[in-house]
């Protein structure tokens, strides 16, 4: 049994290494500061991807802005105020259900509601709000874990000094749980960067530099999809893939390392 498992492990790790190696091999050549900071020309066949990077940043930033208040608020309620009962169990079940919804359905919902019914058209706003819904379960989960991990004595100390629950939360608990909450946000960021179908359906694919939340924008993952399926420029496609994977892995690595450090100091 042992040699089979060793072979399997080597194969799996080799797969990851091979994937990254391929991207580096065929993409590093086109990956330059000029590429990252330059403007595109001839519909993306030439030039750089600066507007794509800007759109991605605005899209993901907007999503985090929308999801953090709602997600952390929910986590606080579940961790601090909720009593075990039917309502709370229902809330938890529904949030878990949200986590299982396929991403294309978020795209469907976002397109139907934000793009068409509310009349925003393909826009960063539509994309951000749709992404926010997708990230909600992740943020709630990690934020709740962070809040629950705050030691009881700190809370009890504050309460003993006469603080109300909210005052305790605001001045003690949230401050203590902040690193954990932030890590959750970073994990969500990583997930948002990788999302394609829902973003394509809601934020569109225009290559221009967005000037308002109602402008469409092309995220890095959508750009890779378009380059890949249209065969416009293999080198640029690999470079975009390399940039995307590097960003996502870096974000995830940071978040996971921080989580490890924070869980076992």
């Amino acid at each position: 049994m042992k040699p089979v498992l060793w072979a399997l492990a080597t194969l799996t790790v080799g797969l990851l290494a091979g994937l990254l190696g391929l991207l580096v091999l065929r993409g590093a050549g086109d990956l330059s500061w000029g590429f990252l900071l330059g403007m595109p020309a001839a519909a993306g066949r030439a030039g750089g991807i600066w507007p794509v990077l800007v759109s991605t940043a605005l899209l993901v930033g907007g999503a985090l802005l929308a999801v953090l208040p709602l997600g952390v608020g929910t986590a606080l309620y579940l961790a601090e105020y909720a009593q075990d009962g039917r309502l709370v169990r229902l809330i938890r079940t529904l949030i878990e259900a949200l986590a299982g919804v396929p991403s294309i359905l978020f795209g469907l919902f976002g397109f139907s509601l934000f793009v068409v019914r509310l009349g925003w058209g393909w826009s960063l706003a539509a994309g951000s709000l749709t992404l926010a819904l997708m990230l909600l379960p992740t943020v709630i989960r990690t934020a709740e874990e962070a809040v629950l991990a705050v030691p009881r004595d700190l809370r009890e100390g504050a309460l003993a000094l006469g603080a109300t629950r909210w005052e305790t939360l605001r001045r003690v608990v949230i401050r203590e749980a902040a690193p954990g909450i932030l890590t959750g946000a970073v994990l969500a960021l990583g997930r948002a960067l990788g999302e394609t179908a829902a973003v394509l359906l809601t934020a569109g694919s225009d290559l221009g530099l967005p000037a308002s939340p109602l402008d469409p924008g092309r995220s890095l993952s959508v750009h890779l999809y378009i380059l890949a399926t249209e065969g416009l420029s293999e080198g640029r496609a690999y470079a975009s893939a390399l940039a995307l994977v590097t960003a996502v892995l870096a974000v995830n690595l940071t978040a996971n390392l921080a989580l490890e450090r924070w869980r076992r100091p």
Binding site: V4, L8, T74, S112, R165, Y225
Partner: protein, 278 residues
């Protein structure tokens, strides 16, 4: 600090706001489900048909259901042995220092965006299948391979948890009776972890069914049931993604209806997984 009434009022207000947050967050899934079902309701009856031909008014999704099942089934066939094998590797074979390195590497496979897998699949796997096995290369096989790599980390993680949850006493008892490591694994560990392993498979299945981009890029999107693993197919998710941008009227309703079908399948799987895991 001594405005007691003010502080208590603020306390009540905050509690109300936070409750609203929680209710809002839980309402999200209901809103999405409601939207999808409501928009798709009129076309629900057209789904069981065998032909998908929007231009002629046929909205049967049989071919796509077969496509989804074929690709997902193939992915499970590859990913379950590999995932359980990786879990066994991490629990039984690997020295702890190596496991510490391999585990995050395995999990980072899960972090790679779907579109990147689709891209590499398009560049490497599709031509390879065409040259080595024939057919256009866009195939059930390509989709299954790409999906398998994507769900492998999920299955491996849950399987590892399930294996670690088996009481040490079981293993020690078996060894005391003279069992080899392989016998312990086969006769004690795997059966004892069965419910956890089944959970892993079911959750992997749910994830695979919901996957869109990577599969869409390598399966060729042919709306006909596959005759072999080398045939191109279209999945339910790929169908929605491809046609949503321009579908109107009955066509759009049919896409939403198929979305509702997909949602029902995934929710049922997740509920089943939770029941088994208990």
């Amino acid at each position: 600090m001594t405005d007691l009434w003010g502080r208590l009022r603020r306390e009540a207000a905050v509690r109300a706001v936070l409750l609203l947050c929680a209710l809002g967050a839980s309402a999200a899934v209901l809103l999405i489900a409601f939207f999808v079902v409501a928009e798709g309701w009129p076309a629900l009856g057209a789904l069981p048909g065998a032909r998908w031909d929007p231009e002629e008014g046929h909205f049967g999704v049989q071919a796509m259901v077969w496509g989804s099942l074929a690709v997902t089934g193939g992915a499970l066939l590859l990913a379950v042995p590999a995932g359980v094998g990786m879990a066994l590797f991490l629990t039984e074979v690997a020295p702890p220092s190596l496991a510490l390195v391999v585990r995050p590497l395995l999990q980072s496979l899960a972090g790679v965006p779907s579109v990147v897998y689709g891209f590499v699949g398009l560049q490497v796997l599709v031509p390879a299948i065409r040259r080595a096995l024939g057919g256009p290369g866009f195939s059930v096989l390509a989709g299954a391979c790409v999906l398998a790599v994507m769900i492998l980390p999920t299955i491996a993680a849950i399987a590892e948890d399930a294996l670690r949850a088996v009481p040490v006493a079981y293993r020690e008892g078996a060894v005391a009776l003279g069992a080899t490591q392989w016998q312990v694994v086969r006769r004690i560990l795997l059966p004892a972890a069965r419910s956890g392993l089944i959970t892993a498979v079911v959750l992997g299945l749910g994830r695979a069914l919901g996957e869109t981009m990577a599969v869409m890029m390598v399966t060729g999107n042919v709306a006909a049931p596959p005759g072999s693993i080398l045939d191109p197919v279209r999945t339910l998710t790929g169908n929605i993604a491809m046609e949503m941008g321009y579908a109107v009227g009955r066509h759009r309703e049919a896409l939403f209806a198929s979305g509702a079908l997909l949602l029902a399948m995934v929710m049922a799987l997740n509920a089943a997984a939770r029941r088994v895991g208990r």
